[in-house]
Symmetry: C2
Subunit: 401 residues, 2 copies
């Protein structure tokens, strides 16, 4: 199941960036499960990683390598997360990097490894190193779709987003891919996203820009409140366009935000078992933090999520979740709750104008906005989530991702 | 579905306390849905209520009445929570109290109302007031089972617990009933529990004792992380035994704790869709708060809960939940995780002695303990939870509780 059509649209090549997806047979023979990106010699790279204390070996190695030198290659495998694997896991991640380093005569630190899949099994290193020469031989500029497929696990479809803008008469491109459908509540990043631009951006600026856009995209979604051990989000600026950009360029930041939000929405639309794409918007809060806490409380409530799955306007569950979100001294008499434009709760109780038929009509839609106004300030926040369906239980009870 | 047999055992009468369960036909004709307790003239009463800001009208009225005078009667209805109902809801709760007050020539403040069921519909007051004379005429000392049934909603079976102890050569009895299967993460109390003793206990002492035992029973369980709008837990001391007790009486406190933990476990064993009863025990924490946060993070993880449902020793999900619990400066090298006595993670990675077969054997049990040791202090905490099954989704998608 997935919400919406999921068409990838036109995915523009990013000058300076080439890529390939091959099959290493990690879990399943013939499946694209190993992806390599070449970043060229002068790319700036910024990264945002999971805050899960049990972060995976490749996440630790990425952080180490990024601190030493500028990366030239990303190597990504699915089918195995290389998390909870101790020292052997670190050694295995290093061996993957070393293979590319030797093939391309580069220092090992210029290779960044990424893994996603089942936690707690050792990485089958040979399967990956065996196909790396083939991957390096196949690097192309326009292989986005295969690469987006090559990083999938329980995803039912690839996710990608691409925009082009004109800056100073030159075309600047931003294209990215992402994967993730379960264990999704990114905290600083999400379960693998790779975004590339040919803009020329200095590294520290690039990191600042990444932090800004991640915070309003991947850090505003939840499928099941479970932050993964492997979340990694990379932003690469190849510089090939020769257009210099910094974070004060509003046009570029808006385009970057479009790509990031598009990818983040893509994860929610393809969330495990999802039949709905739900926007939770909280307005009129006294501060950002309480708006966000309330939005997540509603977004993560199993009772709200099962009501969404059932298309049941059981708004009492939204009200109950609002009440338990821990907002200090909440005056419920000022609270209003809307399903799209239908006001269901006003002044803390069911709205006089509300009819079950009106609520039902909204709940039957595939895309729904739950809007909660608190009437105690000017802050607002938005998060995106999916429903909780039988399919979610089936996927997570019957398979190991 | 429910875990274990759920036999109620012997439910001892509590001298001074009488009760009746009748059918008011609130949602379904013939179903016991209205319960009355008579507390006698000299009972002490302590209450613990939901912290949900959208708490129900009867919860607000209970608090008001308790502040004014000592209660003589409890009136409880199921099928309607009288929550999210505004001023009309308060008026309806008052009308129920008024009916008993007039029938028994008592002040309205000596009646406490309790409601549980669907949120957001107005209470059908006449249905309840119509049957109150019948209920008052049927009050008996030994009607625990019918009353435990009469407060059920999505519960599949009644919950009750009873103990007797000897103090100074006299028998002291504690008997209680509770209901709740979904929207269970009590915060100060749970979705309706009523415990009675014939000990003689001064009101302030009784409240202190209630706070202590609630905190280690109802405040340590979660089914779906959703704190209800109607949680109310009442402790009544009729004084009929003439045995004076205070909170320093360790024997009485242990007996009281047995009843409360028994009732709290009863809710988890009968949790919506439950096929497992799971104890999450965190040891070696630097403080109580981080132990509790970690225990709840694991207990509420949809991925851990679906793995439990599948009897799948997918321990990577427990590790991932541990890592995202927000424990500051967690040294994962000191973390160990056990399924019952089987060590699955040691020194932060899969234990050398671990085999999938050993993990599988534990996971197939109906009752499982997940024990996490942090190796950074001497604090510990325990919470109890259930698994996340298809039946949970079915119950919450197909029915309005």
């Amino acid at each position: 199941m997935a919400v919406g059509k999921g068409d990838l649209g036109v995915l523009h090549p990013v000058p300076g960036i080439t890529m390939a997806a091959v099959s290493a047979g990690i879990k399943k023979l013939g499946r694209l499960d190993c992806v390599v990106f070449s970043l060229g010699d002068s790319a700036s790279v910024a990264g945002s990683f999971t805050r899960n204390a049990f972060c995976a070996a490749p996440v630790n190695l990425c952080r180490q390598h990024l601190a030493i030198t500028s990366p030239h290659y990303f190597v990504i495998n699915t089918g195995n997360a290389n998390a909870g694997t101790g020292n052997a896991g670190m050694e295995n991640a290093r061996r993957v990097c070393l293979e590319v380093a030797e093939l391309k005569s580069l220092p090992i630190n210029s290779i960044l490894p990424f893994s996603t899949g089942v936690i707690g099994e050792q990485l089958p290193v040979e399967k990956i190193t065996d196909v790396l020469p083939e991957a390096l031989a196949q690097l192309q500029e326009d292989n986005w779709t295969d690469c987006a497929k090559g990083i999938m696990t329980t995803d039912t479809r690839p996710k990608a987003a691409s925009v082009q803008i004109e800056i100073n008469g030159k075309t600047v491109t931003i294209t990215g891919i992402a994967k993730g459908a379960g264990m999704i509540k990114p905290n600083m990043a999400t379960m693998l996203a790779f975004v590339f631009t040919d803009a020329k951006i200095e590294s520290q600026q690039l990191q600042a820009m990444l932090d800004i856009v991640v915070n309003k995209s991947f850090n505003r979604i939840t499928v099941d409140s479970d932050t993964s051990t492997n979340d990694s989000c990379m932003l690469v600026a190849s510089g090939a366009s020769e257009v210099y950009i910094d974070e004060n360029n509003a046009e570029f930041m808006a385009a970057l935000n479009t790509v990031f939000v598009g990818l983040a929405h893509g994860l929610v639309r393809d969330a495990e078992g999802a039949t709905k794409f739900v926007t939770i918007s909280v307005e009129g809060g006294a501060n950002q933090e309480e708006c966000l806490r309330l939005a997540y409380t509603v977004a993560e409530s199993p009772l709200v999520k099962t009501a969404l799955f059932a298309s049941d306007p059981n708004w009492g569950r939204i009200l109950a979740a609002t009440g338990r979100a821990g907002i200090e001294a909440l005056d419920i008499g000022k609270v209003a709750i809307y399903l799209d434009d239908v006001c269901i709760v006003q002044d803390g109780a069911v709205a006089a104008s509300y009819t079950e038929a009106a609520g039902q009509e909204v709940m039957e839609q595939e895309e729904i906005t739950i809007r909660i106004t608190l009437g105690r300030g000017s802050y607002s926040e938005t998060v995106w989530t999916s429903d909780l369906s039988h399919e979610y239980v089936t996927i997570n009870a019957e398979y190991r991702t």
